[in-house]
Amino acid sequence: MTRSAPRILHPAALLVALLVALAALSGCLFEPRDPAPPSTSSIQYLPKTSAANVWANLERSLVNTHAFGWEDNVVPEGGTPFIYIPDSQAADQFPGVFDGWNRTKEVAFINRLYNSDVTITAKLKEDDFVPPDDSGGEVQWEGVVYDVSVTSKTDGSTTRYRGRAIITFSVEGNFWYITRWEDQFGEGDPDNPDQILPTMGVLRGTFGSK
């Protein structure tokens, strides 16, 4: 005599599971905390309707150590993947750290940097740099010289990063985002031209390898 295999799940169970799942549709699974109303004026981020605005937003994020500003301007997952390519000095100093550097690593880096009790001054392009017009869905800026100083609130020490980079921006969905940051080399210290400053690759390596 043969017995039919017992049914593991009744269709009603599927229905229940679906109801549980649909309950989630109301957005009631997780609840964020109630934020405190702002005490200061807002950081003026620009709409991401051009590559220049995206670059300006990254600078504002640095100056205000405000992670949302950085995360919001780095290309989200699902589109063109974000790539960071270090200069040779940073790559030598942090072997292996930059392998597969993507948005997740970039976001982790910026959060670790901002959460480490620092103040930052930043100028992400020189005054005489003229960026090319946006055209189509991708634009590349060559020869961008940035200057970033990170001061520790704990011991007051300041480290300066000044480098030359090739930056690529792309359109994803409705907006422009930074999709590639390639550091070429460290630039000289304007106050001491014989001193070559590290690029932000060294900063990324320091916080990315923690």
Partner: protein, 692 residues
């Protein structure tokens, strides 16, 4: 227990090699006779990541592969079984750089064992900066086959590179590295000792590096010894216990800048696991503890780990660092499969303390808890997968010289996912996905102002249908909501909620075997509402963005040798800012910008002869941007690119084949973002290889 450092520093590298050689032969003599090994696969998973130097899963597989390779030769053949050489030379070019390269791969087979050597050379010149890079490498490996009861191998590497980069101020930096290492390894996998199945491994290694960058020397010469044993036994049918121990000791000298000092490191790790495969499912419980201490020269660093040598004398810039680390991890994994239902549960906890004697970083403490559960089942034509993932981690720091900890920095993340698949009527397939995730950053003791929550909700429905195989359609509905909320009052002014909608219908129509038409239309709409935009102190305006994208692609294959592709992307974007909301709740927006981009691509592939292909592609883009404000403005830009090229793949001869591969393309581009180096360049990869 840790292996004690015993190498004299001045002769460490050579002594290490000699001692290691002796150790290998002692181990070989003491090894029991090989026996049938029981299934040890579960024990191979006894890795938690807590110990970088442990006998990892990948390492186990590598050892097993070496062992398999060792017994694959012909035991009765002549001592010398042949040698092959594969010299290869080529040139490569692209928009970034030119490079010339060559290599030779030599393979020598003996009756027992084999020898492989790869020598390579490359020279690169960068087009977008004043930079050249020269590299020379050599890698060899010798496998002793069955000469010894242990799988014995010697590997060596030599890496030499010279990077000359000139910055815009005309300063040229030399980054030069000359690195050599040799490694003697002996291992035996899955041998039986009574009821235990064991894997044993021992290594001896010598490293020597000389490098200079920005005038700073960074040299080291070190020798290391390491060894590990993994043993397991079956307690009962389907239940196995396994333990492992690994230790490593390193000793030598390091030079950094103008300082030279002895260096040393010792590390060990121990793990224990229970593995089961019974009626209640398969899984494991594993515990691993690992630690190391390292003495080395380092630049003086501040509390953030950043090099802090400004204003210091040369002798104060470099310090003798002692770094110690202790880590423990516990993992549980269980898989239950009942017919069409599968339940996978994973839980883990890991803790990690890292301490520096000199660096301002001081003591870092970390802990991470993770719990994942995935439930998948099918009923009738439906299949459903539910998963919940929980991650809670924190790190704390006691900065050097501080009496109290900084406070924990928490990251808490929870994600829920649902996927439901169901075939509908007439060959239509439905895929429904739901995701909700909350990530929170919390700074204990408010040591920074960056507390924040991000709540992400994604819902999508996809319908696919095949219409008599010649016509396929798809439709995607998607909704996403992202809430970015800073918790502290000093950062909350930009808090916002973004609602995004996407509708994407599309079809692929095979009109004839040689002609297909693929068309899709996408509409993206996003509303951004700033939570506090109604406050006077917050000068943020809610906004609205819409983008429509029509993609049309025609593929034509008029002959078996010719492929043509024509594609048009028509893209229209619309950005607006909310100016007012009336009493009924209707919002009114000011049009800020309309942008229209049209791009036409044409691609051709023609197979001239076997192994020879002609390729060509071109595109043109027109970008019209209307900006509305105090003064309306219209900007039109045009850009384009054309390239023509050929691919050749040829092979001559069978016993001593000569192979040629060549891909050569010529690019010309124009447009506002096209620079001199990207306006006119060659992309090529041409190489020739001979085997004898």
């Amino acid at each position: 227990m840790q292996v004690k450092a015993f190498l004299d520093r001045t002769t460490a590298p050579f002594l290490a090699l000699a001692v290691a050689s002796a150790l290998v032969f002692v181990l070989a003599a003491a090894a029991p006779a090989p026996a049938m090994a029981q299934d040890f696969e579960d024990a191979e998973d006894d890795t938690t990541g807590a110990a970088a130097d442990s006998l990892s899963n990948a390492e186990m597989l590598r050892l097993a592969a070496l062992e398999a390779e060792a017994v694959s030769g012909d035991p009765l053949g002549p001592f010398w079984q042949g040698m092959t050489n594969k010299p290869k030379a080529g040139v490569r070019s692209n928009v970034r750089q030119y490079s010339y390269y060559g290599e030779n791969v030599t393979n020598v087979n003996f009756r027992e064992g084999s020898f492989n050597n790869t020598s390579s050379y490359s020279w690169e010149e960068y087009r977008k900066q004043d930079k050249t890079l020269e590299k020379r490498t050599d890698q060899f490996s010798y496998n002793a086959g069955r000469l010894f009861p242990f799988v014995t191998s010697i590997t060596g590497n030599w890496d030499w590179s010279e990077d000359l980069t000139t910055n815009t101020a005309g300063f040229t930096n030399l980054s030069k590295r000359d690195s050599k290492n040799i490694n003697l390894s002996a291992s035996k996998t899955k041998f039986q000792t009574g009821a235990f199945t064991n894997t044993l491994k021992a290594d001896a290694r010598v490293d020597d590096q000389k490098s200079v960058n920005q005038g700073q020397r960074n040299d080291f010469s070190e020798g290391s010894l390491s060894g590990g044993l993994q043993s397991g036994t079956a307690l009962s049918e389907g239940v196995t216990v396994a333990g492992r121990y690994f230790a490593k000791s390193t000793s030598g000298d390091r030079s950094l800048g103008n300082s030279t000092s002895p260096s040393s490191a010792s590390a060990d790790s121990a793990g224990f696991g229970v593995y089961f495969d019974r009626s209640f499912g398969t899984g494991r419980v594993a515990v691993t503890r690992s630690n190391f201490d390292k003495k080395y020269l380092d630049f003086k660093k501040n509390s953030n780990g950043l090099i802090d040598t400004v204003g210091l004398d040369d002798q104060d810039k470099v310090v003798e660092e002692l770094e110690t680390r202790d880590a423990v991890s516990v993992e549980f994994e269980h898989t239950l499969q009942l017919r069409r239902m599968k339940l996978i549960t994973k839980a883990s906890r890991s803790t990690d303390n890292q301490d520096y004697r000199v660096s301002g970083v001081g003591l870092k403490e970390r802990e991470q808890d993770q719990f994942d559960v995935t439930w998948g089942f099918g009923v009738g034509r439906d299949s459903l997968a539910l998963s919940y993932k929980f991650l809670w981690k924190w790190d704390d720091q006691r900065i050097k010289g501080a009496t109290l900890n900084r406070g924990r920095q928490y990251t808490k993340s929870r994600n829920y996912d649902l996927t439901w698949m169901r075939p509908l009527i007439g060959g239509t397939r439905m895929t429904f996905k739901y995701h909700e995730g909350l990530t929170q950053d919390i700074a204990e003791k408010v040591h920074n102002q960056n507390d924040k929550d991000r709540l992400q909700t994604d819902v999508s429905l996809r319908l696919d249908r095949d219409w008599q195989q010649k016509f396929k359609t798809s439709m995607i509905f998607s909704y996403k909501q992202g809430q970015d909320l800073s918790i502290r009052e000093s950062r909350s002014s930009n808090n916002n909620v973004k609602d995004s909608y996407e509708i994407s219908p599309g079809f692929l129509w095979t009109l004839a075997p040689w002609l297909t038409l693929d068309q899709s239309y996408q509409v993206f709409i996003q509303y951004t509402d700033y939570v506090y935009s109604d406050l006077e102190s917050v000068n943020r305006d809610d906004n609205y963005n819409k983008r429509g994208n029509l993609t049309t692609k025609v593929t034509i294959k008029p002959t078996r040798r010719l492929d043509l592709v024509v594609r048009n992307d028509y893209n229209r974007r619309f950005n607006a800012t909310r100016v007012v909301t009336d009493a009924a709740g209707n919002s009114y927006y000011h049009k800020d910008q309309i942008q229209t981009i049209s791009k036409i691509d044409f691609g051709m592939t023609f197979r001239v002869a076997p192994g020879v292909t002609l390729e060509s592609a071109t595109y043109q883009t027109e970008d019209v941007k209307d900006t509305f404000g105090a003064r309306d403005r219209t900007t039109t830009t045009r850009s384009g690119e054309v390239w023509v090229g050929t691919k050749v793949n040829k092979r001559w001869g069978k016993t001593r084949p000569l192979e040629l591969s060549a891909t050569v393309k010529k690019y010309n581009a124009y447009g506002p973002a096209v620079t001199a180096t990207s306006a006119d360049y060659w992309e090529a990869d041409v190489w020739m290889k001979w085997e004898f």
